[in-house]
């Protein structure tokens, strides 16, 4: 029963997602919404403004540095969480 219900939910979700694919931009479309809003600004100005030819690094640490600081804190909290869950020290 559980397997059947899970299969049903999965199939309905898959049908909805496949039904929506004609609205998505095609493979390699240079005018897709993801490539037209803010990324041309990054590509054209990154090397001029930050002297970093790798645009990914420039966007990661400079334009979106606040975002990356949050991600670093997530990694830090994950490490601390693992220590709290598993590390048991024997008292001597």
């Amino acid at each position: 029963m559980r397997q059947f219900l899970g299969f049903l939910v999965t199939m309905v979700t898959a049908a909805l997602l496949i039904y929506s694919t004609p609205e998505m931009p095609g493979w390699g479309d240079p005018n897709s919404p993801a490539s037209t809003h803010v990324s041309p600004r990054y590509i054209e100005k990154a090397d001029e403004e930050t002297h970093t030819p790798n645009i990914v690094t420039a966007v990661l640490a400079d334009y979106r540095g606040y975002d990356t600081m949050g991600e670093t804190m997530v990694v830090f909290v994950a490490g601390i969480g693992c220590i709290m869950l598993l590390r048991r020290r024997q008292h001597k």
């Binding site: 002297h51 990914v56 400079d62 600081m69 670093t72 490490g79 590390r87």
Partner: protein
């Protein structure tokens, strides 16, 4: 718990490979401005070299050299470097993480100051990611016995 099993080939290979993996990690970090790379990738490489040390030798030998206390200090120190650079930018009169004001204390122009700020931030990310992955692996491998 990972115990040492005295395999000559594996130990010699690990001894030989680990310095090269760490040098390559530093290469990936510092060439992140000009080629694919950066803090996250370099940090994962450092963590891979230390995990190779753990599985080729054993846990106690590794934690003698890279103790858990130092590991936790590195884990927080990377975040501290990142946030400290951001705070330094505020203290110099800019916004948070606006590296161009670093040119007031560095002998370079605003654009190069931004590149150097990116480098400092990536070093912080590298330290945090490496220490975090190694500590997760140590905790999972020790199974709560250390």
């Amino acid at each position: 718990m990972i115990r040492r099993n005295d395999d000559l080939i594996i130990e010699t290979l690990a001894r030989l490979l680990i310095p090269f993996i760490q040098a390559f990690a530093l290469y990936v970090l510092f060439l992140g401005h000009y080629s694919p790379g950066g803090g996250f990738q370099g940090g994962v490489l450092v963590a891979a070299s230390l995990i190779l040390l753990i599985i080729a030798f054993d846990l106690e030998k590794t934690t003698k050299r890279f103790s858990e206390k130092f590991n936790v200090i590195c884990n927080g120190g990377g975040v501290f470097i990142y946030a400290g650079i951001g705070l330094l930018c505020i203290l110099l009169g800019g916004n948070l993480l606006d590296y161009s004001v670093l040119s007031k204390i560095l002998p370079v122009g605003p654009e190069e100051a931004r590149a150097l700020g990116i480098l400092g931030v990536e070093i912080g990310v590298e330290i945090t990611v490496a220490a975090c992955l190694v500590s997760i692996f140590i905790d999972l491998a020790a199974n709560g016995e250390n």
